[in-house]
């Protein structure tokens, strides 16, 4: 339990540092930051804005105000849509925009991760079991080649051939699951595949090499000597001890996945977090950007914490070592 608390403490420190950094970004903007934020605002409005954004106060206070806002669900203001006209009210709140976008991105990444693992795990087990065979070599070479295909290239090619040319799905857009489950999956199929393919190769290769090592273990020979079937030995005895590295990397790879999603969402015009981030940059909405980045960092840190917890589920040795320590 103490180890868990310690870990949470560490993650907290990391989060504070991340948000400090993103909050500091606006100080780096050359010149008056309100000019790119709201190019058409009047001088009075600018002064008002500066006050609202606490730009007139020192950095620590501004950060404290921002944190206070975030805790109360206020992620700041988005000035990009209608320009800055109303004197006081916030035309569009960052929280509202993120509220709609976040679930879409999470779903997309969840599907991609799921698809990648569903394909990679059996392939990894199979290639490890048949290590050195022609099949193994073929799959490995294919995986190595897949690693070199950038996800945006795959996305564009899929969008062109499956979407525009074949007309099986619309090459852009997103449909809510509640609205039409079939169309939901249709629309997310191409983005999911684009994101998943690179991960499949990474996960498969990892699992394969760990699995080969596990298959050399005495307990696998022992399981064989018990007369168990190969399938049972592979799936029940060898997979779980071989999956720890895979799990770690799957957690760490959420970072890559987020980066990928930012690009992929823009290609398929899916209004998720990635789309919002690109839009915020394009419209130079630093306040919004700061919050988006913070939300993503929070999610990423949370995922890696979850991975840590899952570790203990998969490996009783760690569970007991932690309980003891």
């Amino acid at each position: 339990m103490r180890a868990v608390l310690q870990r949470i403490g560490q993650l907290g420190v990391v989060l504070v540092l991340v948000t400090l950094f993103t909050a500091f970004l606006i100080d780096l903007v050359p010149g008056d930051p309100t000019i790119p934020l709201a190019p058409f605002a009047t001088t009075d409005q600018r002064a008002q804005m500066k006050h609202e954004l606490h730009l007139d106060r020192p950095f620590p206070e501004r950060y404290a105000e921002w944190v206070n806002g975030v805790v109360h669900g206020n992620f700041g203001c988005y000035y990009g849509t209608s320009g800055y006209t109303a004197a006081k009210s916030c035309p569009d709140s960052v929280a509202d925009r993120a509220k709609d976008a976040l679930p879409i991105s999470l779903l997309l990444m969840f599907y991609a991760q799921l698809l990648a693992l569903i394909i990679a795990i059996p392939l990894g087990v199979l290639t490890a079991y048949r290590a050195g065979s022609l099949l193994d070599k073929g799959i490995n070479t294919a995986a190595f080649a897949l690693l070199a295909i950038p996800n945006f290239v795959l996305a564009l090619v899929l969008a062109y051939y499956v979407g525009t040319k074949a007309g099986w799905v619309s090459p852009t857009g997103y449909v809510d699951f509640g609205q039409s489950p079939v169309e939901h999956f249709q629309q997310l199929a191409l983005p999911t595949i684009s994101l998943a393919v690179g991960q499949v190769a990474v996960y498969m290769r990892l699992l394969r090499s760990d699995m080969i090592a596990t298959l050399q273990e005495d307990f696998v020979t022992m399981a064989r000597a018990k007369g168990l079937s190969s399938a049972r030995i592979l799936w029940r005895h060898a997979l779980r001890p071989s999956s720890l590295t895979l799990l770690t990397v799957a957690g760490l790879n959420v970072g890559t996945l987020i980066g990928g999603a930012v690009v992929i969402e823009n290609i398929f015009a899916i209004h998720g977090m990635g789309f919002l981030i690109a839009d915020a940059i394009f419209r130079r909405q630093y306040v919004a950007l700061q919050s988006y980045v913070a939300i993503i960092a929070l999610g990423y840190v949370a995922v890696n914490f979850l991975v840590d917890v899952l570790y203990t589920v998969l490996d009783p040795r760690i569970r007991h070592a932690r309980a003891a320590g």
Partner: protein
């Protein structure tokens, strides 16, 4: 599933009726590994028979091929990079040519193995109970309750206290000795007819070694099971085996009923092994006699007797001509030597070597470790 079960019933009925044939019959078994340097022959033309309820001790140094032998008999070696020749008959059935899936009918139920290191031979992420009940479900088709009860009884029979609690524990929560007891319980679970114990005590504390060996012996007697006890320690098998086979460089160099072997050993290598066991009657700091030099290269073994380069008795002939495995005057006693220990030929050979100042001969007589070290340098 169904062919498997049918097959089991068949074997059951066969074993129920007393039979004249041997339980296990190994004829000219050879096993080689493909290595980058060439074929390494780890088991070379090994033959022996094993009957129900008997214990065979296989003794030899590391690299003598004794562990490979037991895995080769069971068919547990990987198919790639391994070349296997010869015949293995179990209850009269040839099993050396069977596929892995056919062998599964034998593994666990007919023949089982206790591995050397209990630290690595249990799956770290599965509970002890699961690892025992697994084969009970799989082979004997027991339901959950039956399997649980059987596992509990097994753990008790191998002397594990608080067996009920241990069932739901993981291997890392048990001590080395306890783990080896669990491994034995797993091996015994489906009532095998022959148990291979591959250096079952090497990885354990000295104090636990005797307990585990006694446990194995007790189980073997109770179950009228045959056992092949593989060890590097002649002392381990001395009181426990009915017959002992001494292995060197993949070959059986001497084989005899235990009593005969100790009383009239013929092979200089066996003599060396025996002398390397410390005896209680010796003063506590007396030097141990050791065999200098190393076991030969398995890829390119010496042309004559494999032991000749290290042998205190070795003559010209030994280096060029390989001795055959011949029967001694006592029936059932075989050895592979031109100048056997305890014969006039052997005595003369040793004297000649002493006179010539051959270091291993001096070492064998004087028990001089320095001389033995010289042998090591020379070989």
């Amino acid at each position: 599933m169904s062919p498997l079960r049918r097959r089991k019933e068949v074997t059951r009925t066969i074993s129920a009726r007393p039979e004249a044939g041997h339980l296990l019959e190994i004829t000219d078994l050879s096993t080689s590994f493909k290595t980058p340097r060439g074929l390494a022959t780890a088991v070379n033309n090994v033959s022996f028979v094993l009957d129900r309820g008997k214990t065979l001790g296989i003794v030899g140094e590391s690299g003598s091929g004794k562990s490979v032998l037991s895995r080769s008999i069971m068919g547990l070696l990987p198919k790639q990079n391994v070349v296997r020749d010869g015949s293995v008959r179990f209850e009269g059935t040839e099993i050396s040519s069977l596929s892995n899936s056919a062998m599964r009918q034998y593994w666990g139920t007919e023949m089982a193995m206790v591995f050397q290191d209990p630290m690595t031979s249990l799956n770290p992420v599965l509970k002890v109970g699961r690892q025992i009940t697994e084969s009970l479900h799989y082979h004997l088709d027991m339901d959950k309750q039956q399997a649980h009860d059987t596992a509990l009884a097994l753990l008790k029979s191998v002397g594990i206290p608080e067996a009920e609690r241990r069932l739901s524990e993981y291997p890392h929560q048990l001590s080395g000795g306890m783990r080896q007891r669990v491994v034995i319980a797993i091996a015994l679970a489906c009532g095998p007819k022959v148990l291979f114990a591959d250096e079952p005590t090497t990885a354990l504390d000295v104090t636990v070694q005797a307990q585990i060996l006694n446990l194995l012996q007790q189980q073997q007697r109770e179950r009228d099971m045959a056992m092949i006890l593989v060890t590097h320690d002649l002392g381990v098998v001395a009181g426990r085996a009915d017959e002992i086979a001494v292995m060197y460089s993949g070959q059986i160099v001497e084989r005899a009923p235990t009593r005969t072997l100790f009383a009239q050993m013929r092979m200089p290598y066996t003599e060396g092994l025996l002398k390397s066991i410390p005896k209680l009657e010796q003063p506590s700091h007396s030097r141990l006699q050791i065999i200098g030099g190393r076991p030969p290269d398995l890829v390119a073994p010496p042309p004559g007797c494999k032991f000749a380069p290290r042998c205190p008795y070795a003559q010209e002939k030994c280096h060029s001509e390989e001795p055959p495995l011949v029967e001694a005057e006592t029936p059932g006693h075989y050895f592979k030597c031109w100048y056997p220990v305890g014969t006039d030929a052997g005595k003369e050979a040793l004297e000649r070597n002493l006179a010539a100042g051959l270091p291993q001969a001096i070492a064998a007589v004087a028990g001089d470790a320095i001389a033995a070290a010289k042998v090591e340098l020379a070989v």
